[in-house]
């Protein structure tokens, strides 16, 4: 196994070949906000929060999708990056109908976390107030599109962990929405096994357990990684950490 060296914010570190810049940042304790990333799922580089400045590159690079190469010099905390991250979070808050006070995920929400991480105390962009629906047709869970940030973690979780592919994205642009089956009520999609991986994967209160009400969400984002580890290495989390 090859070992590569790189520099993040002026500090060198060594990582095994195949490590992504995101993993390298986490290893070094560099705080890098993410939303569409979830350990255990294939990364997509959609939220653009994890972009880094890479010396010699014409464009910013998404840490979640960029493998470390020998001698890379990256910066994670420049004024430009901070400004861009803040705008990204502002765009998300303005795009949907995010009312934290009455949300199941209040206090356990990765969008709130991202706002704190970028120092957001108010949004400067025009609130869109889109007309979005709530799908409560499933017996155990619900989907509130008002809270959805289109991270597609649910789509990937259902496809990659459960293999049911209940969720996908329909339409395009600001009309994008998560759909179940062939754009059916969730409760009528026979492929759904009610495993709840999508609810565990959702960073906000969009997908929720009907037994949880305002501020009661129990977030379990580590589920996906645990399942991935279990399948790849034949170990469950009570059987010790994979070396």
């Amino acid at each position: 196994m090859t070992v590569l060296t790189l520099a993040i914010d002026g500090e060198s570190l060594a990582v095994p070949d195949g490590t992504t810049l995101l993993q390298a940042c986490r290893q070094r304790g560099v705080p890098l906000p993410t939303l569409c990333h979830l350990d255990g799922l294939q990364p997509v580089g959609a939220c653009r929060l994890c972009l880094l400045e890479l010396e010699g590159a014409a464009r910013l690079v998404p840490a979640c999708l960029t493998p470390v190469a020998e001698g890379m010099v990256v910066r994670s905390d420049t004024a430009q990056l901070r400004a861009f991250r803040r705008l990204t979070v502002e765009l998300l808050f303005a795009e949907g109908n995010h009312v934290c006070a009455v949300c199941v995920a209040n206090g356990a929400c990765e969008l709130q976390d991202a706002a704190v991480a970028v120092g957001l105390d108010h949004g400067r962009l025009a609130q869109q107030w889109p007309a979005r629906a709530v799908d409560a047709s499933h017996p155990r869970f619900g989907l509130d599109h008002n809270r959805c940030i289109l991270c597609t973690r649910c789509v990937r979780a259902c496809d990659q962990l459960e293999g049911a592919h209940v969720w996908d994205v329909a339409n395009r642009g600001s009309h994008c929405q998560i759909i179940a089956g062939l754009d059916q009520p969730w409760g009528s999609v026979e492929a759904c096994t009610s495993c709840g991986h999508c609810v565990d994967a959702c960073p906000t209160g969009a997908l929720f357990d009907k037994q949880e009400t305002c501020t009661e969400r129990q977030a379990r984002p580590q589920r996906a990684a645990a399942l991935r580890q279990a399948r790849d290495h034949g170990r469950w989390h009570n059987q010790g950490v994979v070396p």
């Binding site: 997509v44 580089g45 959609a46 939220c47 653009r48 972009l51 464009r59 910013l60 998404p62 999708l65 430009q80 400004a83 861009f84 705008l87 990204t88 765009l91 998300l92 303005a94 795009e95 400067r124 962009l125 025009a126 609130q127 869109q128 940030i149 289109l150 996908d168 994205v169 339409n171 395009r172 642009g173 600001s174 009309h175 994008c176």
Partner: protein, 520 residues
């Protein structure tokens, strides 16, 4: 022998070209002439779309000049037949004189047809006519020579760069695909021409499809591909029909020699002109782009190295091989060699198609050839481009020169903007397009274009504040720098271009007594 050529491409069709063609055929019958006595040939684009439907009369004598007529009503078809037979131009007293088009006008005289050399001459629905024009002779020569590396070197030497807008060196891309580890390769032709105001590729697809197919087959040979796709936008039904027919003809004649070429029709998404989204669409998925690297040349369709080139790029290949790389490289300027096809539209009399050497000035194209006057600016590069103001029109057309002015060469759409057109309005038009066409995968493009469109709306209404202007610029830079693909990265360009050259139109501040912030 005297001959009549009728344009049957989309623009002339929309102007009544089919009715005129039928009237001409009827008039010929009425005169008791056999088709062989006066061939009436349905051809592709005759260039000056503004005056369509266009008809060209070829004199019987070799070297006789072409006479061009525009918008002749079908009931005057007998006079056209008469003129064709008599071999002279309409006299001043004749009613058809008013329809005559000066074929020596700079619009025609300054063109240098390379990609378009057979357009308007060849019958797009006849493989035999294409063969008679020399199409497929280069493909046969390449196969006979059996030297793909040399072929790629020739294209490298020609300096041909991607004509879809990115301007990537074509020969280099061909090499990159060819030199990948052994395994299947694919070729793809990007015929999803989506820029508003661009119809260069459409003209080739409708009017000279075999030229494109020859270029594609040569490219396949050059990189060792046995399978190829043409991804063609659904909004070009005539091109789809012509290409389907051309492929059928090729298969029947056995000219493809083991190469499997298939047509894939798009479904109305501009974003599917982006190469990774295009490949996703061919593979049956949602047309959303993905991060690059890896580039399609390394890992493309079905995970295989994939060569993807634009229509115009591929259509240039046969002529380059026939006339030589050095001949092509001698045309043009700097790092932009050869010729470029442009579609002219907007505030000018000569709306239509031109092909000129790179390095021709923008002023020559829009004013001398296009006949434009009272120009405020010229928009190049479509929704990812910028505007070149009238004062800077002497810029030689090339990839680098237009980029230096805050615009880009793009795919070739050139829209002439008249004096009095408010630039915030133009910027909003393109932003609205991008917001509507955004695939929605990444936050900056999906949500940012919507915000930018609304901000621009405030400027259109004269309600833009200083805070709005600051927000506009900050958001533009963010969307440009952080978007996942070229659609989002390019969406702010018309705004930034308009701010660069016409900032005063945005700086009409609405004074706020209370110092209020931006809109709710």
């Amino acid at each position: 022998m005297a001959r009549i050529r009728c344009c049957t491409a989309s623009s002339c069709r929309a102007a009544g070209g089919q009715a005129l063609l039928q009237a001409l055929e009827q008039a010929r019958r009425d005169q008791g002439l056999a088709p062989g006595a006066l061939p009436i040939k349905a051809v592709g684009c005759l260039r000056l779309c503004a005056r369509g439907p266009l008809v060209a009369l070829d004199a019987a004598a070799h070297g006789g000049s072409q006479r061009l007529y525009g918008a002749v009503p079908p009931d005057r078809a007998p006079e056209l037949v008469q003129l064709a037979l008599e071999g002279h131009a309409a006299g001043d007293g004749s009613s058809l004189a008013a329809h005559g088009i000066d074929a020596e006008h700079p619009f025609f005289a300054l063109q240098q047809p390379v990609v378009l050399e057979a357009l308007g001459l060849v019958d797009p629905e006849s493989l035999d006519d294409a063969l008679a024009q020399g199409t497929y002779s280069q493909l046969q020569r390449c196969r006979a020579d059996g030297q793909p590396a040399q072929l790629r070197a020739c294209i490298r030497r020609s300096g041909l760069r991607g004509r879809g807008g990115a301007g990537y060196p074509t020969g280099l891309k061909w090499d990159t695909v060819a030199l990948q580890p052994p395994g299947p390769r694919l070729v793809v032709c990007n015929a999803d021409e989506g820029d508003p105001g661009a119809f260069m590729d459409r003209a080739v697809l409708e009017g000279d499809p075999h030229r494109l197919l020859e270029g594609l087959a040569i490219a396949a040979f050059a990189v060792g591909a046995q399978l190829g796709y043409i991804y063609l936008r659904a909004e070009y039904p005539l091109a789809i029909a012509r290409l389907r027919l051309a492929l059928q003809q090729l298969r029947q004649r056995g000219l493809l020699d083991g190469l499997d070429l298939q047509l894939r029709v798009g479904a109305g998404a501009y974003v599917c002109g982006e190469e990774t989204a295009l490949l996703a669409s061919i593979a049956g998925g949602r047309g959303t782009p993905r991060q690059r690297p890896p580039y399609p040349a390394q890992q493309g369709l079905f995970g295989c190295p994939t060569l993807i080139n634009n229509v115009e790029t591929l259509a240039a290949v046969p002529a380059i091989l026939r006339r030589g790389a050095d001949w092509y490289a001698a045309l043009g300027t700097g790092n932009s060699r050869g010729t470029k096809v442009f579609s002219l539209s907007g505030a000018l009399p000569h709306t239509g198609l031109v092909e000129v050497p790179m390095g021709t000035s923008l002023r020559t194209v829009v004013e001398t050839m296009g006949g434009a006057s009272g120009v405020k600016a010229v928009q190049t590069g479509g929704p990812a481009g910028g505007c070149i103001p009238a004062a800077l029109l002497d810029v030689p057309i090339a990839y680098e020169t237009l980029a230096d002015l805050g615009s880009m060469l793009g795919s070739g759409g050139m829209v002439v903007l008249p004096e009095g057109l408010p630039m915030p309005q133009l910027a909003r038009y393109f932003m609205r397009f991008c917001a509507s066409e955004s695939c929605g995968k990444c936050v900056p493009c999906r949500a940012g274009t919507v915000q930018l469109e609304q901000l621009l709306g405030r400027f259109c209404e004269g309600q833009g504040t200083a805070d709005d202007l600051q927000q506009l610029e900050q958001l533009c830079h963010m969307v440009q720098a952080t978007s996942l693909c070229g659609l989002g990265q390019g969406a702010p360009n018309p705004v930034l271009g308009a701010l660069r050259h016409f900032r005063h139109e945005f700086e009409q501040h609405r004074l706020e007594a209370d110092g209020a912030g931006s809109a709710p």
